[in-house]
Symmetry: C2
Subunit: 201 residues, 2 copies
């Protein structure tokens, strides 16, 4: 059986990663979402092993020491967030593809640790639209929105860190394109060539 | 406007290239089939500029001299067959993708002349099925079929000359996968990255 492949979906704040990710997982049943670990408190409605793996600070720092994370970071609050290797690699071993939705610095760290991963950059269709989306969330101050907006402009110039790029103009079209990319990647000769050569034996 | 891309569909005799090619062109209206040039006589029902471009021997040899062909070969009959650059590059310039269905040596020559082309190898699902298909055509002697069959076994080991490989088990699935590959290729950052970066300006 062919092993699965790891896809990293990233892009600037407001590009629509979260929604794309949700619809993508509904459409592609062979794709499993990577589950992050965190030391922050579990909130109402969240489920251990689904929303996050909830760990103590000691447990998390042990994982860091033992190189059991693909990437991690510590938020302003002091809480850790990270991507456990084991869950990802278990799914890949079982033949599932794994999707990791992550901000751009995390994406870069993972690419360095696991170069076989395939990066997909999600771009907003325009800056007017990006500003609309950031404002539309209605949960941040105008100052923070402007900050995110400037950051997004810088982040878009980092598109070359990714193998693929999709302009997220229409949700369904974006999801279809990512499904296409996943299928195409599974037909790269570097991936499927040996299976074909084995037909001769 | 982004220029189109050149896709080369090839594979051993009996892999089903012709049928896949036909359905693929019906499904993807942005894809144009490359039209070959030949010095053989036009047959009843064939159309100049559609089935082939029909040329005299002198005209064809002038094209060879002037490097106007992506590849060419001379059949046993002495007739030339080749791929004129002009038609292919005109379509690419207009933004169409171009599909070239060709046997494996021709495919290799084109890849050398035009490395930006994207090779897709079509594999029969099994050798039993390949033998069935070769026999099912009912137009060749058993000796010739056995010859083609042995050649196909060698050709399958050349799958690594292609970027992608598709096992042609189910016609519709094969065509869908090639449509996916074409779409994925158009979302490579090396192809679409500058367009995305231009959003910032």
């Amino acid at each position: 059986m062919n092993k699965g492949r790891l896809f990293i979906l990233s892009g600037p704040s407001g590009c629509g990663k979260g929604t794309v990710c949700k619809v993508l997982l509904e459409k592609n049943k062979n794709l499993k979402l990577s589950i992050s670990a965190t030391t922050r408190e579990k909130r109402v409605g969240e489920i251990d092993g689904e929303t996050y793996f909830y760990l103590s600070k000691d447990q998390f720092e042990d994982m860091i020491k033992n190189d059991e994370l693909l990437e991690f970071n510590q938020g302003y609050s002091g809480n850790y967030y990270g991507t456990p290797k084991k869950y990802v690699f278990d799914q890949l071993e079982k033949g599932f593809d794994v999707l990791l939705e992550i901000e751009m610095n995390g994406a870069k760290n993972i690419k360095e640790k696991y170069p076989e991963s395939i990066g997909i950059f999600l771009s907003p269709p325009s800056f007017d639209e990006l500003l609309n989306r950031l404002r539309g969330r209605g949960r941040e101050s105008e100052e923070l929105i402007q900050e995110r907006f400037l950051l997004a402009k810088e982040e878009i110039l980092r598109v070359d860190e990714y193998k693929y790029a999709v302009i997220n103009e229409d949700l369904n079209e974006t999801v279809d394109t990512i499904v296409n990319i996943i299928n195409a990647e599974k037909h790269l000769t570097s991936f499927i060539g040996n299976k074909i050569k084995s037909l001769v034996k």
